[in-house]
């Protein structure tokens, strides 16, 4: 564990320093230093209740962290502190997420779900909506086309006009990822994307995650319990237990790390 080093990486898209989150007397996050390098897939694992989702919620502004800093580098060299920003601001800066239990807009169509994802990049206001001037119509058409292309590219073409709630479970998971992509993120946070998927769907997901990283040119931070997926897909793995980071490293190191084995299996 080299905490000082992990605070100053060469080219990171996101880093937290000493991030803590306290709920009353419960320390959910205890001085977490986490770095996501540009164009990497970083995984976050740990037993249930380790604080992984809390970390996500702090990063995306749903909880204001108690202490520590979150710095986001959006690619043009600017460093932005995400601490204390509202969730919608965080998304607009380029940090999109999916949810552990799927949170789609279930009574809307698949295309509308993706279009809502484009919200931050569209400009039409009230007057545009009421009068439907040329500019608004052009924008609307451009983003419908964009969303449609995105859906086609990620294999949801057949269900463009379906209601989101009528999709199969695996397709719902995928739609959530596509919807997050529509916000135009630099960093994608995936919260247990493989939960409830069968082995074929998990394989598809692995392919999807790798494709997204290369073709959309972004970084991914991933919470996952499926070790097969994590070990195959990620470049760096962070392991959490009881709100603390207990190990950082590439997959084959983590596999042999005694602290990790202890956290998962208990001591002999």
């Amino acid at each position: 564990m080299t905490e000082a080093a992990s605070c100053r990486p060469p080219d990171s898209v996101l880093k937290t320093c000493g991030l803590s989150m306290v709920f009353g007397g419960l320390v959910a996050l205890d001085r977490v230093d986490l770095t996501v390098e540009r164009h990497s897939i970083t995984a976050l694992i740990g037993p249930n209740g380790a604080g992984k989702t809390t970390l996500f919620n702090c990063l995306t502004g749903i909880y204001p962290p108690t202490r520590g800093s979150i710095t986001f580098e959006s690619g043009d060299g600017r460093k932005i502190s995400l601490k204390g920003l509202a969730p919608d601001r965080v998304t607009l800066l380029g940090l999109a997420r999916t949810f552990q239990n799927i949170r789609l807009f279930s009574n809307l169509t698949v295309l509308e779900n993706v279009l809502i994802g484009c919200h931050g990049r569209m400009r039409a206001g009230l007057l545009g909506a009421l009068f439907r001037d040329k500019k608004t119509r052009a924008e609307e058409k451009a983003f419908i086309d964009f969303s449609y292309d995105l859906l086609v590219r990620y294999g949801l073409k057949a269900s463009v006009n379906e209601l989101a709630k009528n999709l199969a479970y695996g397709a719902q998971r995928r739609l959530e990822i596509v919807r997050a992509l529509a916000t135009g993120p630099k960093l994608l946070l995936l919260d247990e994307p493989a939960a409830g998927l069968n082995i074929n769907e998990t394989n598809e997901l692995r392919e999807l995650i790798e494709t997204i990283r290369t073709s959309e040119n972004l970084s991914i931070l991933l919470i996952e319990h499926d070790m097969n997926l994590v070990m195959n897909v990620s470049h760096v793995i962070y392991v959490m237990d009881y709100g603390k980071l207990i190990a950082v490293g590439p997959p084959n190191e983590i596999r042999r790390n005694p602290a990790v084995i202890k956290a998962y299996l208990g001591e002999e």
Binding site: T60, I62, A86, P87, D88, T91, L92, A96, R97, F99, R103, L104, F105, S106, N107, L108, T109, L111, E112, L115, I116, G117, H119, G120, M122, A124, G125, L126, G128, A129, L130, R132, E140, I144, D145, Y148, D149, V152, R153, Y154, G155, K157, V160, N161, E162, L163, N166, A168, R174, A180, T183, I199, N200, E201, N203, E204, E207, L208, T211, S215
Partner: protein, 431 residues
């Protein structure tokens, strides 16, 4: 079983009657028999319908294990069919010729039904589209009506000046009210808006310049370019098209104004719903956290929905004041809010044709059923219960817009990156 229960509960109500003349208690056993018989029959119908419904569900599960989209009913189909445009034109045309063929009474009740259509569509933006339960909607209606009444009473401002002013005032009030309560949601929001509605009514009752419970009378009808409509134009119409001689042409004019307002409202609401702003509202209704995660400013979305919904209540209020020519705070009771909400719920949340049908059913039906007027609320309640059991989505469920993509013939479609499940399975076998 249910029969016995109801007979037992209703026994004192139905059977005994105090005879005021002879100061004695009459018993009416025949009524009990009628009640018992009808309830008995009704329970059978009820059971049958419930059984049929659960059977339908069962067969659906067997036939479509993945739970694909439910089959649209004929009402829903009609609402989204290709003939929609033609249907609309026919409806609009018949609405236009109505006053020339019917009597003043008819025109009056259709006008009030149209006012409720406007109110329902406005509330639909708040409740149906954005999912913010507003029980004080009538307050904004009152603001619109009082804007016209007071400005006309004190300053002699005309209808045409007050129509936009009423809309603007209620929008501003919606913003003002929205600011503090926008953090609330669900039940808390409902309670706060409910009390806001009551507060508005009480303020109107107790202020001096609103003339308190006496209300404001002699509100002027809207002027038609300063022309006296009941003079020569009316004579002309009576002679040429057999116009009803008792008809007040000012009323007919109001009818056309509200018809225009309704058409405008439908266009606006439809366009809003299928725009960036409307989709933000829909997202807000569906899931607040996910909505924020999509980069939507929750506060702004809620505020705009609240304020814009109030705008139409203001418009409807101004027209209402000019139609009824006398308003007092009693016209804006909590029951009114409930009525408008029922229109939205009964007709179908977030469904424009649904709200129109809902208003027609709830406003026109009681007028036609004056015969039953004593039992009106009873029938109304029963109707609501039946609706919630058998068509929880409302009379006409909302239908999402279908996007038809034409790009496929002009440019090549992007190659799917993710392979289909079947090829994945093949790959797995190869391994």
């Amino acid at each position: 079983m249910a029969t016995f229960w109801i007979c037992f509960l209703a026994f004192p109500l139905v059977v005994f009657k105090i005879n005021a003349n002879t100061r004695s208690l009459d018993t009416r056993w025949d009524r009990l028999y009628i009640l018992a018989g009808s309830v008995f029959v009704l329970t059978f119908i009820w059971r049958f319908l419930l059984k049929r419904r659960s059977f339908d569900r069962l067969t659906k599960v067997v036939n479509e294990p993945h739970g694909s989209a439910p089959k649209p009913t004929w009402l829903t189909r009609l609402a989204k069919s290709r003939q929609r445009g033609r249907l609309l034109a026919v409806v609009l045309l018949s609405m236009c010729v109505l006053p020339f063929l019917s009597n003043p009474y008819m025109v009056n009740i259709v006008t009030s039904a149209l006012i409720y259509v406007t109110l329902g569509l406005g509330l639909n933006v708040v409740v149906g589209v954005s999912g913010l339960l507003n029980l004080g909607y009538v307050a904004f209606y009152a603001i619109g009506a009082y804007t016209y009444a007071l400005l006309g009473y004190y300053f002699g401002l005309s209808f045409w000046v007050c129509l936009p002013l009423g809309a603007i005032f209620s929008t501003l009030l919606g913003l003002l009210l929205g600011l503090p309560i926008i953090r609330l949601s669900g039940d808390y929001l409902a309670i706060v808006t409910l009390s806001f509605g009551e507060i508005t009514r009480l303020v109107l009752t107790n202020l001096d310049f609103t003339r308190g419970p006496r209300g404001i009378s002699n509100i002027k009808p809207p002027s038609f370019f300063g022309l006296n409509l009941n003079g020569t134009p009316k004579q002309f119409l009576i002679e040429t098209v057999g116009f009803h001689p008792d008809m007040d042409l000012n009323r007919v004019f109001i009818y056309f104004i509200i018809l225009a307002v309704v058409v405008l409202t439908i266009i606006c609401v439809y366009r809003l719903e299928n725009s960036r702003l409307g989709r933000a509202w829909l997202a807000l209704r569906e899931d607040e956290i996910a909505c924020q995660a999509m980069g939507i400013n929750r506060t702004r979305a809620k505020l705009t929905a609240f304020a814009l919904g109030s705008t139409w209540a203001g418009l409807a209020g101004v027209v209402f004041a000019s139609q009824i020519t006398f308003i007092n705070p009693a016209s804006f009771s909590f029951m009114e809010s409930i009525m408008i909400l029922s229109i939205v719920v009964l007709g179908g949340m977030d469904s424009i044709p649904g709200v129109i049908i809902g208003a027609a059913v709830l406003i026109l039906l009681p007028e036609q059923l004056r015969f039953f007027s004593d039992y009106r609320m009873l029938i109304f309640g029963a109707l609501m219960v039946v609706m919630m059991v058998f068509r929880p989505g409302g009379l006409i469920k909302s239908v999402r817009e279908v996007y038809i993509h034409q790009a496929s013939d002009s440019k090549p479609e992007p190659r799917p990156v993710v392979t289909a499940l079947s090829t994945m399975e093949q790959g797995a076998e190869d391994d």
